[in-house]
């Protein structure tokens, strides 16, 4: 590999790390604010309090022009909120057309079924964006996946565990459209000049210079391809 190629690879890895890193930094600031609030209230928080807090935290990011984040919020561990067994404090941005079918949707709150006795209720603690950070205690990128309930589109969900006294009290997170990520990352990956593909931890393609490697396909292992971890993210840049 030439020095020029090597430097383009480093640039691409840096771009991937920075793109997700910026979003994770924002989520992490929400996590810290929620943890401070919870600690200040000795672990007792009501639905109203958490909603006010989370709304104030996430709405500015969702309102920004050209925001990558199209949905964000906090999802509570069952039993943590004092007056609701299950609770989601989640907001959808202007770019998020979920459920409205209009070209200019308003910033709004996600309406989710929180009553476990309801037929349509399902336990979110079984889903990847919850399950993985709960198991590892670390930030996690879920997707690309079709999120048919919250964005109605091809999505990446970033989640971070929120802790109080050593136990997880929920996750803070954000949704990104895969479209936007492709637009953001493709120029950087393309600069490498040969086939390069960003895959997630399950080897699902996030973006590739090869137009015949569709986003969402699984890149089958190939021993000859060089693999480079993209900084703090769980994403991997595969060369060749």
């Amino acid at each position: 590999m030439t020095t020029a190629t090597r430097s383009a690879v480093v640039d691409a890895v840096t771009a991937v790390d920075a793109t997700f890193g910026t979003v994770f930094e924002q989520i992490d600031s929400w996590r810290a604010a929620i943890e401070r609030h919870v600690a200040a209230h000795h672990g007792r928080v009501t639905v109203t309090e958490i909603d006010e807090l989370v709304e104030a935290l996430v709405v500015p990011g969702l309102s920004a022009a050209n925001a990558l984040i199209i949905g964000a919020g906090f999802v509570a561990s069952p039993g943590f909120i004092s007056d609701a067994e299950w609770h989601l404090a989640w907001w959808l941005g202007h770019a998020n057309t979920f459920g409205v079918g209009s070209a200019d949707p308003a910033l709004r709150r996600l309406e989710a079924e929180e009553d476990p006795s309801s037929e349509s209720f399902r336990d979110y603690t079984t889903l990847e964006w919850w399950r993985v950070p709960a198991a590892t205690g670390a930030p996690h990128i879920t997707g690309p996946y079709v999120d048919y309930l919250c964005t109605d589109d091809y999505t990446l969900t970033l989640t971070v565990p929120v802790m109080y006294e050593g136990r997880m009290i929920g996750v803070a997170g954000a949704d990104l459209y895969v479209n936007d990520i492709e637009r953001t990352l493709l120029p950087h990956v393309r600069a490498i000049g040969s086939t390069a593909t960003v895959v997630n931890a399950s080897r699902r393609v996030v973006v590739s210079t090869d137009p015949h490697r569709p986003t969402g396909a699984i890149l089958r292992p190939d021993d000859t391809a060089e693999q480079i971890a993209c900084g703090q993210t769980s994403l991997v840049l595969v060369l060749g």
Binding site: G71, E114, S120, F121, R122, T126, E128, L149, D152, R204
Partner: protein, 249 residues
């Protein structure tokens, strides 16, 4: 993000998505009728106001008024005046009788065509899913099948919808998922009428397991073939049921 928190949320959103084309009042009325039959709108639920619905459907208020009138005539909605007034869903009584009426009202050509269209979407989704699923995804599909109680009709019906939606999601195609949801809202109560019988509920479960096995083997061809056959079976059952209903008059 909160996928599957409420598997009907998106389906409900599809209910109120804008309608296009002529006969808008009929389309709105049909959309609401289907939603009531499917159980997406439940008994006693208050519908949005005429103007709110008009905004959501992207039609004139007079159109939603006309649609509501049609629903009142069908006995699916009642309108109460006053402070706590509005239009409320009536879904009590026999769901079976209502569905039977619709089966009789639709022609064989329409029913078969709906099967062909649905099968095109569902089979393509299954084929793509076989190429794009991780072991974790397979486990999730198994969990969906296990959560369905084949001895109960409601659970089977819901399980059928959830399974198909999960497979569609694994295709990684947002359009296929949206089309799957739309078609479920439109056809599912009729298409899966065979789930009234326990034999078919068991057969459905076996078909799902076979599709998952094919997806696990990266065998898109088999996943597609099994899906087409499963849906074709449901349509043939439906046409037999229709013939039987017509014989009885």
């Amino acid at each position: 993000m909160p996928q599957s928190i409420r598997s009907t949320t998106a389906a409900r959103a599809a209910v109120f998505a804008p309608v296009a084309g002529g006969g808008r009042a009929e389309l709105v009325a049909q959309r609401l009728t289907d939603a009531i039959e499917l159980g997406l709108l439940s008994h006693g639920e208050r519908l949005p106001s005429e103007s709110e619905m008009a905004r959501q459907f992207g039609v004139a208020t007079v159109t939603t008024r006309e649609a509501l009138e049609a629903l009142r005539e069908l006995g699916l909605v009642e309108t109460r005046r006053g402070r706590d007034g509005g239009s409320f869903v009536i879904a009590e009584g026999s769901r079976t009788a209502r569905i039977d009426r619709r089966v009789k009202a639709l022609s064989r050509v329409e029913l078969r065509d709906m099967g062909v269209y649905y099968s095109a979407i569902a089979a393509m989704a299954a084929e793509l899913a076989a190429d794009r699923s991780t072991p974790d995804d397979i486990q999730h599909l198994h969990a969906t099948i296990d959560a369905t109680d084949a001895t109960a009709e409601t659970s089977s019906r819901r399980g059928e919808g959830t399974f198909r939606l999960e497979v569609a999601a694994l295709s990684q195609s947002a359009r296929l998922v949206r089309e799957e949801l739309r078609l479920q809202a439109e056809f599912a109560p009729l298409l899966w009428l065979c789930l009234r019988e326990e034999t078919h509920r068991v057969r459905s479960r076996e078909a799902h397991l076979a599709v998952v096995a094919a997806i696990e083997d990266f065998d898109g061809e088999t996943a597609r073939r099994l899906t087409v056959a499963h849906i074709a079976g449901a349509i043939e059952w439906l046409l037999d049921a229709k013939a039987e209903l017509e014989r009885r008059g």
